[in-house]
């Protein structure tokens, strides 16, 4: 029986890992394409989810600001938008965001050290966080795009017949796994086998040299940030469906970091594999060891696991070899 419990934890851990990986993917894309560690990825997921809810519910953007400035009381347009259009519109807005980020931020920081760019994304994170709240309000929003939620009866029944113990698996997690697998396959294909993918990796290595061979940083960055925006939207939908759209959603970025570390900042498959290892590791640890040491170990355990791993492989599981030469 204990074994069955443990395997249930394991399966659930793997699923949780997939959810982390969805966030980690966005980081990887941008890191790969510009050497930028995009701290704003979590906030982008929040922003995308907020925008999606706002559009679907027909909220008036900046209602709060308008009310404060003009002393009126607007809140909703009074219509609702079907999920599919909402998602399409939000994706467009994320492209707009990518263009704005390129124009207003990245363009002016070409060739700067990574830490400076990192810092800029932190500024961006703050800005977006504020913007999201000003646009759509800080209340907890319920997001329902029609993804099923709750445990899957089918799996429960099947495992019950087979093992005598029904596994509880969230349908949402199953969907997340399917979506993540599709995303990863598409992104791997893109970055390894296309001209734009190659250009993207070139930009990450050397901005100046990329410019000098005629790669338009502008185009690459807009493209990558748009894709990352889309990935953020997907992550936002999954996490928003799971636990409501609210500030804390941006903090899932912190769960994605150990995943990145373990999988390697530059590897798309690494994000998934790292996610699986972290999800599984932290859940099992909390389940077995947690009660002995007082629990709440998940946060640090993920990092310590990744850290121990890095000591043996400093570039992560699938990361590009760190070039050390003189």
């Amino acid at each position: 029986m204990e074994f069955l419990y443990a395997s249930e934890v394991l399966v659930n851990g793997l699923m949780a890992g997939v959810m982390y990986a969805l966030v980690a993917l966005g980081f990887v894309l941008i890191y790969k394409a510009s050497g930028v560690f995009n701290y704003a990825q979590g906030v982008m997921a929040l922003f995308a989810a907020m925008t999606l809810v706002g559009i679907m519910e027909g909220r008036v953007p900046f209602a709060h600001l308008i009310n404060a400035m003009f002393g009126v009381h607007v809140s909703h347009f009074g219509w609702t938008v079907p999920a599919i259009f909402g998602i399409a519109l939000t994706a467009l807005i994320m492209v707009g965001l990518a263009i704005a980020v390129e124009k207003l931020v990245l363009k002016h920081l070409v060739g700067q050290e990574p830490i400076i760019l990192f810092m800029a994304t932190i500024g961006l994170a703050w800005f977006l966080e504020g913007l999201g709240d000003v646009m759509w309000g800080a209340d907890v929003k319920v997001l329902d795009v029609g993804l099923p939620q709750g445990i899957s009866d089918g799996i429960e029944a099947a495992t019950n017949d087979w093992l005598g113990y029904g596994f509880f698996i969230d349908k949402l997690d199953i969907w997340a796994t399917v979506i993540a697998a599709a995303l990863v396959a598409a992104l791997v294909g893109f970055s390894q086998y296309t001209k734009q993918g190659r250009a993207m990796r070139a930009v990450a290595d050397d901005h100046q040299a990329a410019l000098s061979v005629g790669i338009s940083l502008r185009f690459i960055w807009i493209m990558v940030w748009s894709i990352a925006g889309f990935v953020a939207l997907v992550a936002g939908i999954m996490w928003g469906t799971k636990s409501g759209v609210q500030f804390s959603l941006s903090l899932i970025a912190l769960k994605a970091l150990p995943v990145l570390m373990l999988g390697g900042f530059t590897s798309i498959p690494g994000a998934i594999v790292g996610g699986l290892i972290i999800g599984m590791g932290e859940k099992l640890f909390e389940y077995f060891i947690g009660p002995m040491v007082g629990g709440a170990t998940e946060n640090w355990f993920a990092y310590v696991l990744a850290l121990l791993f890095l000591v043996f492989r400093p570039q992560g599981l699938f990361g590009e070899r760190i070039i050390e030469r003189v």
């Binding site: 932190i122 977006l128 504020g130 913007l131 040491v293 709440a296 640090w300 400093p314 003189v326």
Partner: protein, 358 residues
């Protein structure tokens, strides 16, 4: 034409290495110090102390510490919050265990304990570099906070895990505890900030500072010309943690008076101090002060303008504040990626050339 370097000749190597090579700068700093020590304490009220100056000084110390690690030694760390917690809990345990010993000793000891912990968590830096290291230091952040939260010994078995600083005096002056006057808080922090800034300056202009910078700029080359990376990196972690530990001790004992690990020393603290360092200027002590001032003062200032002056709802103001601070960070980075310190230096360079720029 007043700001001149020309004509300011050094006659010995000793003079040439001094902290403020330009006479005008030197006088400016002396005047500033005189005001800070002799004038401000008489006028300071508890709002200015608690909301502005004390946090500014404490964060400046933390920022100098982190700047040593990130700006001088090139090891990006996000463990600052955790190390500050070590300082805070160390000083709490020492204060309550040895009430008779002067508080200043406790604070220094807390710094030393943090230095040891910092070295321990600095060990992976020998293998792990760049952003990988930055993320790895989060392990320290989360683990330490968890530890202080979980092990009741650290918070003297209090019911909720909060620690509260008892009153301690120094020559009859309350330095910690509720009865501490605004000027006592301010002066305590000021003394630490000034002395530690001076120490940091000495370290960074000397041998060990050059070792750190060598490792930062090109670690392999540094090793080949004879820098032992182990000792350089660990000494950076130790010194940096010493500063950060003292900042944590002051934050808890002098400024807040009570603290809880996960709230007061959470991940946000790590990021906040890192922002200060980057905005202020990596590898600059002046920059650490500037960055701390910027990030402590700006939100207070914006809040005052938006809420008190314009009368906007507080939540809207808070959201706009986030947007404005975020936008300003980006703006400053674009204007000068090397921080406020470089901006200041460029301004001085321009002044020096004025009115004939080229």
């Amino acid at each position: 034409m007043i700001y001149r370097e020309a004509g300011d000749f050094k006659t010995s190597y000793r003079d040439d290495g001094q902290t403020f090579p330009i006479r005008l700068d030197r006088w400016g700093y002396y005047a500033l110090l005189a005001v800070a020590f002799l004038v401000v304490p008489f006028f300071i009220d508890s709002y200015w102390a608690n909301a502005v100056l004390v946090p500014f000084l404490i964060y400046a110390i933390a920022a100098i510490g982190l700047n040593i690690l990130v700006g001088y030694a090139g090891q990006v760390s996000l463990g600052t919050g955790g190390f500050m917690a070590v300082g805070a809990y160390a000083v709490y345990k020492l204060m309550t265990a040895f009430p008779g010993v002067p508080i200043f000793v406790h604070i220094l000891l807390a710094g030393l304990i943090t230095a040891l912990v910092g070295m321990l968590f600095g060990l992976p830096s020998l293998r792990i570099k760049g952003f990988y290291l930055a993320v790895a230091t989060l392990a320290a952040q989360f683990f330490l906070v968890w530890l202080f939260n979980k092990v009741p010994w650290f918070y003297n078995y209090s019911a909720s895990g909060q620690i509260t600083a008892p009153e301690r005096t120094f020559f009859g002056w309350a330095v910690t505890g509720p009865a501490t006057s605004a000027s006592a808080k301010y002066l305590t922090c000021l003394v630490f900030a000034v002395v530690l800034a001076w120490v940091a300056r000495n370290l960074t202009r000397g041998t060990v500072g050059r070792k750190w910078m060598a490792i930062r700029d090109m670690d392999i080359a540094a090793e080949i010309i004879g820098v032992n990376p182990l000792s350089a990196k660990l000494s950076a972690f130790a010194v940096s943690s010493f500063f950060i530990g003292i900042a944590g001790a002051l934050l808890f004992a002098v400024y807040l008076g009570a603290a809880e690990a996960s709230e007061a020393f959470g991940i946000n603290k790590s990021f906040l101090v890192l922002f200060m360092v980057i905005i202020g200027g990596l590898g600059s002590i002046f920059g650490s002060f500037a960055g701390a001032a910027f990030l402590v003062l700006l939100p207070v200032f914006l809040k005052n303008v938006l809420v008190a002056r314009l009368g906007w709802p507080t939540d809207l103001a808070a959201h706009l504040e986030l947007m404005i601070v975020g936008a300003l960070i980006i703006f400053f980075l674009i204007v000068e990626p090397h921080g406020l310190a470089r901006l200041w230096r460029l301004t001085k360079e321009k002044l020096r050339l004025w009115p004939f720029p080229h």
